[in-house]
Amino acid sequence: MPNIRPKVDAVIVGLGWCGSLMAEELTRAGLTVVAIERGPWIETGTDFPPAIDADELRWDTRRSMLLPQAVETITFRNNPTQKALPARDWCFNEWGNNVGGSGTHWAGMAWRYSPYDLQPYSMTVSRYGVGQFTDGLIVQDWGVTYNDLEPFYDRFEKIAGVSGKAGNLKGNKIVGGNIFEGPRSDEYPLPPLKTTRLTDLFTEASDALGYHPFMVPAGQASEAYTNPLGVRMGPCTYCGYCLYYGCANWAKSTPNNCVIPALMQRQNFTVLTDSTVSRATFAADGKTARGVVYLDKDKQEWEQPAGIVIFSAFQMQNVRLLLLSKIGQPYDHATGQGVVGRAYSFQTVSGANIFFENEYLNQFIGAGALSSQIDDFNGDNFDHSGMGFIGGAGILVVARGARPIGNTEVVPPGTPRWGSAWKKAYTDAFQNGTFIFGQGTSYSHKDSFLDLDPEYKDANGLPLLRLTYDYNENDRRSAKLVEEKSLEIGKKMGAKTVIGTNATDQHASPFQLASDHTIGGAVMGLDPKTSVLNRFQQSWDVHNVFVLGASSFPNNAGYNPTGTIGALTLWTAKAIIETYLADRGPLVKI
């Protein structure tokens, strides 16, 4: 019989963005909350002050803040005819391993999805007809609309301290912002970050081509800022140590910098660190969850009973927890039945490598989300009639810091990888070489799914999650268009050498590091036959289980997912507090 902790109102698995935002909401509403986090407590002053943070080998090359594959990984195959094998080394699974989760080390691109991204099925059919969908593609509406989420996007941006310029304020389009965005009720809480030579070159070229460039909304505070929770952030110093690093300035939008200092003052909140949840447990009638089981640091088994169970352990781990807990019917690829693990998607990346001559890009100056972007070819922002695909990409340049070790292969094509020729080319490319990044939509497919691996297990003897995924025809077609547009912009920027890049020219691989946005597998929706969660991210099967994260997304947009993850968490928190607590049962009656 495992050790049992005292029962609380809610247990939260994983204390990243979703977990900390939910914990803040629930504790403020008076609930007792325990969060269980696999990683340790970390904080700015101890773990990444300036004297420690500026260290590429430790934080970037060795990924010291991220969860090692030795603790958990996935197995991978492109299609069901193959045997899946474990991803044994660093790959696109860039998971957190600390209080704050991946929200501590992320790059900070803080987007809203567009209205189309949340209703891709009905809007595509309305504009183009069902013939626009390629074979086997899974496209379905989320059950929430952009207008439903708008107030929650607004609140997330204010809590996070996002720096940007509105492009659509209550329907009024504003040049300088993203004119393609959904209508906003308010400006960003902070003005945009400063621009760099690279972003200026991109902005000028895009503008000259007739496109509509804007600065990407950034999870780096452009000024000192106090958020609605009373937590203070410092100004970004453009140090260039952002993605994979903690922020020594309290400037990056992270759970640690924005939520947790307020959360830790609440006497009704406790976090258990270094503790790994393996599954939910159930009441005797099997209809509701009783709590969760976890292993503490000494591998002792405990149960944390709770009235509400929240999985917010990151996209992959959420799906794994549902499967290990046996919540919901697992997706069976052979029959097409079931939903848990179904509808996995990713991020479709194409673009161009560009090399200037005699430039001083000074790329060591930067911030994680310091970027200029155009949305003219994203989502449904252009007419897809006759093109045979849906979606597109945000196209941008990234002024994110220099990476001497990470960028050793950023040299013109044909350059040797070592020797004096490499040294010369790399020295030149350090100030002249960069890339245009098409961060594209990604739609799921009946052949893209997650399930439990039949052979490989983690260190605790539990099956690893297995991913079956390859690029589908729709995404290959959209990537091609985005590559062409990137080439056009690169040439207009005056780059001497412009080479197209396209991840979909090859089979998908976890070791193709173009993106780490793994999406879906426990999607939200309007129909229990095609979704795991209802529109409030509540399990259709077990009404006191809620699942928060990109696992909820039936598709990925041409944007980074964190802003939408935050907004959906706040949307669900409101539903729990204002509706669920008073009448515990399914929030959506079918």
């Binding site: 260290d55 590429e56 790959c91 830790m264 060591f364 297990k457």
Partner: protein
């Protein structure tokens, strides 16, 4: 005690488990003053190697001098400290592939499934350096370090392109391991034993461990003058 040796004596991995960390936290931020998660530095005795035998160190040095040759841009890889850097990496968790998933059967898969090798980085050097020298003795009657630079380059190119096979290890797997580590040794902060005198950062014009560019960010497209700095002043 010199400051560098003091820091080097702290044993630590990624998050310094030696630090006192709370595990059931409630009611306030659990900050403990006076702690810092210093970088994981192996004990530092600059002239002795801790992992490599003298013969292995000689071979690694010769390889490093071809991957990063001495030329007008910088000293060679050996003088830059690559052997010392790699030696220190291999006796630590990195050398043991501590972060990697090493359970279950090792089955060769598709290229998309990534390397499915049971070898650790330390294994690759132990096996690969011997295999390389055996190959050189067999073909040229000399160890790798005794060959002309042209022959050395031909061999390294052959390993890289999978034209040369070694008897006891995949030549390309060994080559990629050492190329990556030589690059790291050349380009990482000098606290790890390489990039001596910040030689690569001077070559590139990379300022290193600066943390605030607000006063120069508006000087766009201009050559900036930032003499590179390390996390710790190793001249002390």
């Amino acid at each position: 005690m010199k400051r560098r040796e003091l820091l080097a004596s702290v044993v630590a991995t990624a998050f310094a488990p030696g630090l006192a960390r709370a595990e059931t936290i409630s009611g306030s931020m659990p900050w403990v003053p006076g702690q810092a998660a210093v970088p994981p530095l192996a004990a530092s005795t600059p002239t002795a190697t801790l992992f490599f035998s003298p013969a292995e160190a000689e071979t690694v040095g010769a390889i490093a001098d071809r991957l990063i040759p001495e030329d007008g841009l910088s000293v060679g890889g050996r003088e830059a400290g690559c052997v010392h850097f790699i030696d220190r990496q291999l006796i630590g968790p990195y050398g043991q592939a501590a972060s990697q998933y090493r359970l279950g059967r090792f089955i060769k898969g598709t290229p998309e499934q990534g390397l499915q090798s049971s070898l650790t980085p330390a294994d690759r050097y132990r096996i690969g350096l011997t295999a390389l020298n055996d190959y050189c003795q067999t073909k040229h009657s000399l160890a790798f370090s005794g060959l002309s630079t042209q022959t050395q380059d031909e061999i390294l190119t052959g390993l890289e392109r999978k034209d040369i096979n070694l008897a006891t290890i995949d030549g390309s797997e060994f080559f990629e391991q050492i190329l990556q580590n030589v690059r790291e040794g050349f380009l990482s902060d000098p606290i790890y034993g390489g990039n001596k005198n910040l030689v690569s950062w001077k070559m590139l014009g990379f300022p290193g461990a600066y943390y605030d560019y607000r006063d120069v960010i508006d000087q766009k497209g201009k050559k900036l003058d930032f003499p590179p700095v390390s996390l710790f002043d190793t001249s002390i």
